[in-house]
């Protein structure tokens, strides 16, 4: 509600209209003055967003950095006055036993998820490119997993993978495969959350890659078909190269989104058993909110490390892209 006030000035203030009004005669004489007054109007319209970004992005982010550089206790968290400890939190976190596992889990979770999401999404996009009866409707229904609240899909998957009563084990039993403790066996927990996460990400990949496919001219395929290229060759020689920019952005977004996933893992396994499905993001969440005793300093430290990772991947992407343009 508060934010409506910053939006109001241009309205309540006739000055919002003024830049256009009095400036007009001046504009006829000196175009530069008009430019300046438009700049003012432009800034006035941006003001709510800038204020919003500072208050609700920059400040929480600053608080995270602050938390990670101090040794906060529950008490000092509320009242202030925590001791400055420099990078001690970072050393502690990276040196902790759990760090290796969490980092490995994060990388496996992220890369297996996006690779599978992309491959399945692309296969489906190519399949749906041929317009057949009902294809539009079916494509629409494919969006459902992406639109459902995560708590809904998470709890549904948890029940499907339930050891004793889950449908997955029941189906496996029909093939003579014994009971698998999907969520409670340390060897399977990470696999289970990855499967659920792949399921969640397929629609996003399908939609973006499908729209990318729409931009590839049909003539290319027709020409290739005339030259005798089969569907497989057409895919490798036309579809994939033409889709490269869209693929790059899809994979990058997938990477950034997947690195920070908390909810689906937390809902299904809470990162357990032990730390077997704990990623860096889940670890951070657990330190801050998952136990009765919140420990915000290491939580914020882990969060900041995640940001650095996302940033590193983003820069790597930009670099690869630039190199491609050069060659």
């Amino acid at each position: 509600m508060e934010t409506t006030t910053p939006a109001a000035p241009p309205a309540a203030h006739p000055g919002g209209a003024a830049p256009g009004g009095p400036a007009k005669p001046a504009a006829a004489r000196r175009p530069r003055v008009r430019g300046r007054s438009t700049q003012w109007a432009a800034f006035a319209f941006l003001l709510p967003l800038v204020a919003y970004l500072l208050a609700f992005y920059a400040y929480p982010l600053y608080r995270n950095v602050d938390l990670s550089l101090h040794e906060y206790t529950v008490r000092s968290f509320v009242q202030g006055g925590a001791e400055f400890t420099g990078l001690a939190n970072y050393r502690d976190v990276v040196g902790a036993n759990a760090f290796g596992t969490a980092l490995r889990n994060t990388l496996v979770f992220t890369f297996v998820s996006i690779a599978a999401q992309y491959a399945i999404g692309l296969a489906l996009a190519v399949f749906f490119r041929a317009n057949f009866p009902l294809s539009g409707l079916l494509r629409g229904m494919f969006l459902i997993p992406w639109l459902l609240p995560l708590i809904v899909s998470g709890s549904t998957w948890a029940w499907m993978l339930n050891s004793d009563n889950g449908i997955v084990n029941a189906a496996l039993e029909a093939f003579g495969i014994g009971q698998v403790n999907w969520l409670t066996d340390p060897g399977w927990a990470l696999t289970s959350v990855i499967v659920a996460n792949i399921w969640l990400g397929i629609p996003f990949n399908l939609v973006i890659l499908y729209s990318g496919l729409q931009n590839i001219p049909d003539e290319l395929y027709e020409a290739a078909a005339l030259d005798g290229a089969n569907a497989w060759q057409q895919f490798w020689r036309i579809t994939l190269p033409m889709l490269r920019p869209v693929s790059a952005i899809t994979l990058l977004l997938g990477l950034v989104y997947t690195l920070k996933v908390v909810d689906i893992i937390w809902i299904m396994t809470t990162g357990g058993p032990g730390t077997s499905s704990t990623t860096l993001a889940v670890w951070s969440y657990r330190e801050a909110f998952g136990t009765g005793l919140p420990d915000f300093s290491p939580a914020a430290t882990l969060g900041n490390l995640l940001i650095l990772m996302a940033l590193a991947f983003g820069l790597l992407y930009l670099r690869l892209q630039r190199r491609q343009e050069w060659s």
């Binding site: 438009t38 941006l46 399949f127 294809s135 459902l148 449908i167």
Partner: protein, 278 residues
């Protein structure tokens, strides 16, 4: 020629059949959620589980009506508040970025992109740290503010992309008629941007409705908890009543379903607009 056509038609029929099969496989978890929500508690642990809801019960849905109505109302309020806030911040900014060409626009666009990369757990810790001192924890509008951060950068990007496509002649015409920047925004740009604003509203609502991280951190002890938290504590409290849990899940999915039926083209448009810009 006719042989070719029959072959094409047969092929299309095959593709439809395959498409239905793929969709069925992908949507199986959704079907299973509905199936479990209709299963009697006594049949819940049947081995093998019942593939179809024979002898269905609506007891789970009765439980939803009894237990979760306040949570559903809270979520509705949060979703609507989030839509209003998102539009109020994003629409003027988008107008400025698309039509008034402020200095530093590229920098701001980059900030918006980067903002979406911040892990939600980092945002949650930051908000918690701020709210704990201000005493804003466990409040509905505190959650509205926090949830809106999911939608605002997206909203600005979608609206900017759309408004940039509004012909410059219309702007000039408005100016000649004596309309200032504000007047042009309200009477020309906003009405024309209705579809883009609708897309943004739909997503802002859905994301606020679906949010779990902010709810589970900023509103843990609230009197009025949103539905996502309602389901979560339901799971924690009674692990035997899976029909009630799944019935709540079905009800919580209604906005997503409505969105899909009413506005599929806006949804697909929104996904691509946020991601692919050319």
């Amino acid at each position: 020629m006719t042989a070719y056509r029959t072959r094409a038609r047969r092929r299309a029929r095959w593709q439809t059949a395959l498409g239905i099969l793929f969709t069925a496989v992908l949507l199986f978890p959704v079907y299973w959620m509905v199936n479990v929500s209709l299963t009697k508690t006594g049949n819940m642990r049947a081995d093998p589980p019942h593939w179809f809801p024979r002898d269905p019960t609506f007891a789970g849905y009765a439980d939803v009506l009894r237990d979760q109505l306040p949570a559903l109302t809270t979520s509705l309020a949060i979703g609507l508040g989030c839509v209003a806030l998102t539009l109020a911040v994003a629409a003027p900014a988008a107008y400025s970025l698309a039509k008034l060409r402020p200095r530093g626009a590229t920098g701001l666009s980059f900030v918006l992109l980067a903002a979406q990369m911040i892990p939600s757990v980092v945002m949650a810790i930051g908000f918690y740290a701020v709210y704990v001192r201000l005493g804003w924890l466990n409040s509905v509008w505190g959650l509205i503010l926090a949830d809106s951060t999911i939608a605002v950068p997206f909203g600005v990007m979608v609206l900017t992309a759309f408004m940039a496509g509004i012909p410059q002649e219309l702007m000039h015409a408005a100016k000649i008629d004596g309309a200032g920047a504000w007047r042009t925004f309200v009477s020309v740009v906003l009405p024309l941007s209705r579809n883009a604003a609708l897309t943004v509203s739909l997503f802002a609502f859905l994301w606020a409705w679906s949010d779990f991280i902010f709810a589970s951190t900023l509103s843990r002890n609230a009197d009025a908890i949103p539905i996502t938290l309602g389901i979560y504590s339901y799971i924690g409290n009674n692990t035997t009543q899976w029909n009630s849990i799944m019935a709540t899940a079905v009800v919580a999915s209604v906005p997503a379903a409505v969105l899909l039926v009413v506005a599929q083209r806006f949804v697909a448009g929104g996904v691509t607009a946020g991601a692919v810009k050319d």
